[in-house]
């Protein structure tokens, strides 16, 4: 910084060379600019604080907006119905078999009971509007109840049936239902009035939405759940862990403890660093070309997703494991060798156990990254619409972030809250994993 020409800092020395004058001039000059310089200092400091505050504000806005949107999805509105399960309306024969019970006309009894609630509704169009208040998942609910207990046929039972997604949104919100024009909804004014009648009669209730955690995907928002995606994520992550953990630890041990300093090792190191920065979608292309088109592994399967994600997380875990191995002091190795252990015995018996907390921390962080990853999984076909919970590693499956992506694309408004709720679940898992990593580090961290 010797060539600094800034007059504020280094005043020009006059040619006359009178030392006293120079000092007075410098002091005067410095004094006169001091206020400006301090102001600049304050501004600079303010920019720094502003940048941090803005970044944190982004974070807060992001999280709160998702939380506010997603919270309603954890509850759902139910309507109290008195349903008469008479065999005629159900279109059942004298002694129905299980198959017949399953296919019976449960929609009919629900509609009949709705009509009893609103006897004034007569026109076809109005009736249709009335039936649309309830979710058609009520039929499956009744079907399950009847199959479990066929004696119910002929009786009148009181059940709480799930409302349709639009009705549910209305019931969960605090809108004044007597002023239909203030409400933004797809429902007609008449439907709002009916909903209000039900609400005033105390026949509606908002409860915890169990379906969201027990059901698979569905085209109907009120029947859609994340169970299939959660299981898919778990299977995929298990494959990722089983592959990436041993391979990454072995690679780290080799590079840190055994590798000679040569070109090959250099190449491996450069490769690992580069792979850590390759866009994740490129790993998806690799998975598609190699595992699906060449080896003909099944599409959309957790096993392929797991392989692709483990290739992606390998660099992260290797780099963390190497750092952990490096932190173990050489004296440990020397003591081990001094007692006659072989190089590998030193590693397996002494160095690795001491480095394990650090390695596990890195692994958990790598797996958290894999859990949130979407793009490569789109490439290998995990975007399919999958209703069933996957039973094994080769079944078609989807994962939580892909489910978020799919729901975010759906036009129904109720899917917005489902999407946000799925994101909340995803974030909870990520926070848990990271918290475990932090705790591990805190608890087992050793300073040598």
């Amino acid at each position: 910084m010797s060539d600094n020409k800034d007059p504020q800092v280094t005043p020009d020395i006059p040619a006359s060379g009178e030392p006293g004058r120079v000092r007075r001039d410098t002091t005067a000059q410095v004094r006169s600019t001091l206020a400006k310089r301090y102001a600049a200092e304050k501004r600079f400091r303010f920019y720094g604080i502003a940048a941090i505050c803005a970044s944190l504000a982004f974070l807060v806005v992001l999280l709160t907006s998702i939380f506010i949107k997603g919270w309603p999805a954890f509850t759902h509105a139910y309507v109290k119905m008195n349903i008469t399960l008479d065999a005629d309306t159900l279109e059942l024969s004298e002694n129905p078999g299980a198959e017949e019970l399953r296919a019976a006309n449960y929609g009919g009894v629900i509609k009949k009971s709705l009509q009893e609630k609103f006897p004034e509704v007569k026109k076809r169009k109005e009736k249709k509007a009335l039936y649309a208040l309830l979710s058609n998942s009520g039929e499956y609910l009744l079907s399950d109840m009847v199959i479990a207990n066929p004696d119910l046929i002929g009786q009148t039972i009181e059940v709480w049936l799930p409302a349709d997604d639009e009705t549910g949104a209305l019931l969960k919100s605090n809108h004044d239902l007597s002023k239909p024009d203030t409400i933004v909804t797809r429902m007609s004014d008449q439907q709002i009035a009916m909903t209000k009648t039900l609400q005033d009669a105390g026949e509606t209730d908002v409860r915890f939405n169990k379906t969201f955690f027990t059901a698979g995907d569905s085209r109907e928002p009120e029947q859609a759940g994340i169970r299939a995606a959660l299981i898919g994520s778990a299977l995929t992550l298990l494959v990722t862990f089983l592959l990436s953990f041993p391979i990454a630890v072995a690679a780290a041990i080799y590079l840190e403890e055994f590798a000679p300093q040569n070109r090959w090792t250099d190449l491996v190191e450069v490769n690992i660093n580069n792979l850590a920065a390759v866009p994740s979608i490129v790993f998806g292309l690799l998975g598609l070309a190699v595992f699906i088109n060449y080896f003909h592994l099944p599409r959309s399967a957790p096993v392929v997703g797991g392989i692709v994600l483990s290739l992606m997380t390998l660099p992260t875990i290797i780099i963390a494991s190497r750092a952990a191995l490096k932190a173990v002091p050489p004296s440990i190795r020397e003591a081990g060798r001094g007692l006659g252990a072989s190089d590998q015995q030193v590693v397996w018996h002494h160095v690795l156990p001491l480095a394990m907390p650090g390695i596990l921390t890195g692994t958990i962080i790598g797996l958290a990254q894999a859990l949130g990853e979407t793009a490569p999984l789109l490439m290998i076909g995990m975007v399919a619409f999958i209703v069933d919970v996957p039973q094994g590693f080769t079944d078609a499956a989807t994962v939580l972030p892909v489910q978020v992506f799919l729901w975010a694309d759906s036009p129904e408004r109720a899917f917005v809250e489902k999407t946000s709720a799925a994101i909340i679940v995803l974030l909870v898992f990520l926070i848990l994993m990271n918290a475990i990593a932090v705790l591990l580090r805190k608890k087992f961290e050793r300073r040598w």
């Binding site: 400091r45 920019y47 940048a51 072995a250 792979l275 390759v278 490129v282 292309l285 949130g372 975010a408």
Partner: protein, 466 residues
């Protein structure tokens, strides 16, 4: 028996062999006067037997699974009617796919309606029986190999068998192989992308791809179809990627850099300990969440803002996607810059302060220039991340390939096109799907070059002050 249970069985056998091998080592030792007469520890003998049991079995399972598909498929050829063979390879391929689907969905038990159906059902039945034979053969072979391997190793257990070096050689080989997987992955990426891209460039000239300004990858499904010849000029995609990444960097660099400077130079260690992890959360949030946020919150907000000042903003504007991507990248810039700023020797700061400079003058005129190479490296790494980012742009940027530099309009990016080309129905030989691999190649090369430069710069910089 499924592959998972077969693998588990092989592992169980290996564990049993380990126990038996160790037992025998103890027995041999006690006959000869204690374990010290053995060359290696009894455990080493056990591991040796276990490895001899598991490794050949694993090799058999993996090899079998790799070659089962092609072999079964060629054995199926005899079940395919001559008429189909006469139509050429594509027809055979199609026919095999149908049989596959039939076999997977369960062969219908009723009487087939046409003769062709009958032959298909016959073929599907044959496929299923071939597969079940193959599964049984694999199981028997695996168990046999495992047991024979274990038995051979078991016989070798003597006091002078050098079990430890044998085991350690195998383990060492495993370590080397694991480390080489990184190279294999890179080679795999290169091969898969280059190979498919080369096939694409046979159909579409590379010059058109790199210099063309029109992108509409719809190729004709029928030969006589009108207006869908498909054009593969990738310039609009490159420009779109560049535009969105530039917006992201405009957001991320000032915020990230100023946060890093404040945290490194001004903040107390307590503030640092709280704020740094909080900023890192931004990097830990899945990109699909950012995409959702961009599409649902930021894009409408920018649109409303534009409307209120009389600007027409596309609902899939580059600005929305770019801004959110910038927010995501802030922690990358800030943590990388933080590292290099704290690496600047304290003596330089002390020298500057000693000459009477204020703290901000020291930062701007001494610390920042000294840290500049490292900061540039960090920014390049962040830029490569922005270019390769997929989910945010897939969800918030458009599909229309507009050639524009106006951030208020919709543009599309390389990654968006890769996803759209590959997530629909695909036929693997069409120019449309192959184009995705050509784009992937471009993406891989660009990010690779950026990364190599960035890592080189950062490493050079570190050496300077170490």
């Amino acid at each position: 028996m499924s592959i998972t249970s077969l693998l588990l069985l092989a592992l169980c056998l290996a564990f049993v062999s380990f126990i038996i091998g160790r037992q025998k080592a103890y027995a041999v030792a006690s006959r000869n006067g204690g374990t010290r007469t053995l060359h290696s520890l009894p455990g080493h003998y056990g591991i040796m037997v276990g490895l001899w049991c598991a490794l050949p079995a694993l090799a058999i399972i993996i090899g079998w699974k790799l070659f089962e598909g092609p072999i079964v498929s060629s054995m199926l050829d005899s079940a395919i009617p001559e008429a189909i063979h006469a139509k050429g390879d594509k027809a055979v391929e199609l026919y095999k796919n149908e049989i596959n689907n039939l076999a997977a969905s369960g062969v219908p038990s009723g009487v087939p309606s046409t003769e062709q159906d009958a032959s298909k059902i016959g073929a599907a039945n044959r496929l299923n029986s071939l597969r079940s034979y193959s599964a049984i053969a694999l199981m028997i072979l695996t168990i046999a190999v495992a047991v024979i391997g274990a038995a051979l190793a078991y016989r070798k257990i003597k006091t002078d068998t050098e079990a430890r070096p044998i085991v350690e050689r195998i383990v060492h080989f495993f370590l080397v192989a694991s480390a080489s997987i990184a190279i294999l992955t890179t080679v795999g990426i290169l091969f898969s992308v280059v190979f498919e891209a080369a096939r694409f460039f046979q159909q579409v000239s590379i010059v058109e791809f790199v210099t063309g300004t029109k992108w509409s990858p719809q190729t004709a499904i029928r030969v006589d179809q009108a207006g869908s010849s498909g054009s593969f000029g990738a310039i609009p995609l490159f420009m779109g990627t560049l535009l969105i990444s530039a917006i992201a960097m405009v957001v991320a660099v000032p915020f990230g850099l100023m946060s890093a400077i404040y945290l490194a130079e001004y903040a107390s260690s307590r503030t640092r300990a709280i704020v740094k992890p909080l900023l890192e959360i931004l990097a830990g949030i899945p990109t699909v969440v950012y995409g959702f946020f961009a599409a649902l919150t930021v894009a409408p907000m920018i649109r409303r803002l534009g409307d209120s000042i009389g600007l027409s903003v596309s609902s899939e504007s580059a600005l929305a996607a770019g801004t959110v991507m910038g927010i995501m990248i802030i922690p990358f810039v800030s943590s990388l810059s933080d590292d290099v700023i704290t690496a600047v020797p304290q003596a330089m700061r002390d020298g500057s302060s000693g000459l009477g400079a204020t703290q901000s003058e020291t930062v701007r005129k001494v610390v920042f220039p000294a840290a500049l190479p490292g900061i540039v490296g960090g920014i390049l790494l962040a830029a490569s991340r922005a270019i390769g980012e997929t989910m945010i742009v897939v969800m918030a940027a458009g599909l229309a390939a507009n050639l524009t530099m106006n951030p208020l309009e919709a543009v599309t990016t390389v990654t968006v096109q890769i996803v759209t080309l590959l997530t629909g129905d695909q036929e693997f030989d069409s120019a449309k799907t192959l184009a995705a691999f050509a784009l992937g190649l471009m993406l891989f090369i660009t990010t690779l070059v950026l990364n190599v430069i960035a890592l080189h710069v950062v490493r050079k910089y570190r050496e300077q002050y170490d």
